[in-house]
């Protein structure tokens, strides 16, 4: 299978590349630690053009998107954005996304961002349900039209201010505006995946290089993106949820706050039932107390060696200097300071549960 290429491939110099969600993307420019620290302390830029972009417009754009995402799309004013899950009939998360109600002057009404490689499937899902429900809306997969750059870190606002005439202080968290970045018509949203202040910039692929090169800060790859999001306890598609390998509901994945049960959406009834009954397992943070690095798939046991679950993602936290992980555990363990073990190469390693985010943000 040929990997999809970012419009920025060839612009940046000598990154280490990796396949991710059907795309070939930079995993590391300098070192994960260097890039991670830049974002926590100053600013870093990420090419996230592998993320999907699907627009939904027309008289029933709101109803269609409302019925296919867990959050309350009706609560969005123009220029607002929200995080949401996309669930199946059983309430199982098949994707997570940010839904934007685009600013009034935009050509499209709504934009949502499926995960890497999910753009085709999600476009199809919207089209199929539109037709099944007899709704009137235009659904367009614009993933090949948009480049996406994330600028993250405490200095991101001053960095971006130099490249736009817009007063960025007017853009609140989870708000999106149409503006220019280095003269390039772009959508700028105060969103991100790192826990730091920052922006995500959507611009036409033909002008992606102008935007990327204008941002004068540390280029960062998917490696640092992963350590940054993991310190925040943010979910990664394919790790913390996957329809086949890790079927989880928003309540299990600890994103129950994205579920608006007073709206009508696919999976709503199953989730209402689970909201009443409670969950058996829940996503929790772990800190390893012994030496080692917990990684995806490693077994988690109780102190007597009985299996409780497995690590969904883990790393050595560059900020904290300790090994951290996410795992689904029985709810009895879903509180901090419970003793568990992570089995690394056959050896049980002492760990304890921790609240997420792992860092203060």
């Amino acid at each position: 299978m040929t990997l999809r290429q970012s419009p920025l491939a060839g612009v940046y110099e000598e990154p280490t590349l990796t396949g991710f969600g059907g795309w070939e993307m930079p995993v590391e420019f300098d070192s994960i630690r260097t890039e991670h620290n830049a974002v926590r302390e100053t600013a870093g830029k990420f090419d996230v053009s592998h993320m999907g972009q699907v627009t939904v417009s027309g008289p029933d754009a709101l109803e269609l998107t409302q019925r296919l995402t867990t959050n309350d799309v009706g609560a969005l004013d123009p220029g607002d954005a929200q995080y949401a899950a996309i669930t199946d009939e059983d309430g199982v998360v098949i994707d997570d996304t940010v839904v934007y109600r685009l600013p009034a002057k935009s050509d499209d009404d709504y934009l949502f961002i499926p995960n890497a490689g999910h753009d085709g499937e999600m476009t199809e899902r919207w089209v199929t349900h539109r037709d099944e429900w007899g709704l009137t809306a235009t659904v367009t997969n614009r993933t090949e039209e948009y480049a996406m750059v994330a600028l993250q870190g405490p200095d991101s606002e001053s960095q971006l201010s130099a490249e736009t005439t817009l007063d960025l202080t007017t853009v609140g968290r989870f708000e999106v505006v149409s503006t220019t970045v280095s003269g390039v018509e772009s959508l700028v949203a105060r969103t991100g995946y790192t826990g730091e202040p920052g922006f995500e910039i959507l611009c036409p692929v033909a002008e992606a290089e102008t935007v990327w090169t204008a941002l004068d800060c540390q280029p960062c790859g998917l490696g640092a993106r992963d350590t940054l999001r993991l310190e925040m306890g943010f979910l990664l598609s394919g790790e913390e949820f996957h329809p086949r390998d890790e079927p989880r509901t928003p309540y299990e994945a600890d994103i129950g706050w994205t579920v608006a049960l007073d709206t009508d959406f696919v999976g709503r009834d199953a989730l209402a039932a689970q909201d009443g009954d409670g969950v058996d397992e829940k996503l929790v943070g772990l800190e390893l107390l012994d030496r080692g690095v917990p990684r995806h798939g490693y077994e988690v046991t109780d102190p007597d060696g009985a299996t409780l679950g497995h690590v969904t993602s883990g790393t050595m936290s560059p900020t904290l200097g300790v090994p951290i992980a996410l795992t689904y555990l029985p709810t009895a363990y879903a509180e901090p300071e419970r003793s568990v073990e992570v089995v690394i190469r056959g050896e049980p390693k002492e760990a304890r549960t921790r609240a997420t985010p792992f860092i203060d943000r």
């Binding site: 994960i32 080692g292 690095v293």
Partner: protein, 127 residues
Amino acid sequence: MSFDVPEDLRYLESHEWVSTDDDTARVGITDFAQDELGDVVFVELPAESDELAAGEEFGVVESIKAVSDIYAPVSGTVTAVNEALFDQPELVNEDPFDDGWMLEVELSDESELAELLDAAAYRDQIE
């Protein structure tokens, strides 16, 4: 990108190096290997007096992004372990051929050294 490949060392295809002084060998991983792994955060090594067999794994090096087995270039008895790596695993990145060394081994069969790659052959492999 070009990597340091000291002329006076011998190499394994799996990116370990060995230097010899009489019947003692010092072992580590190469500049190329540390760069591929990225930020090393943890090194698991055998204990002194453990026996190594050439070609068999003797430890593990973990970076933020990957975990990799380390293979013994030679057979013998471990006589020293670089304990500095337990607190400063980043030495493997910073100085892979010197402060980032991993083990010293008393060779049980010096003829094994002839089986290893010389610098030119290893350089050909990674370039």
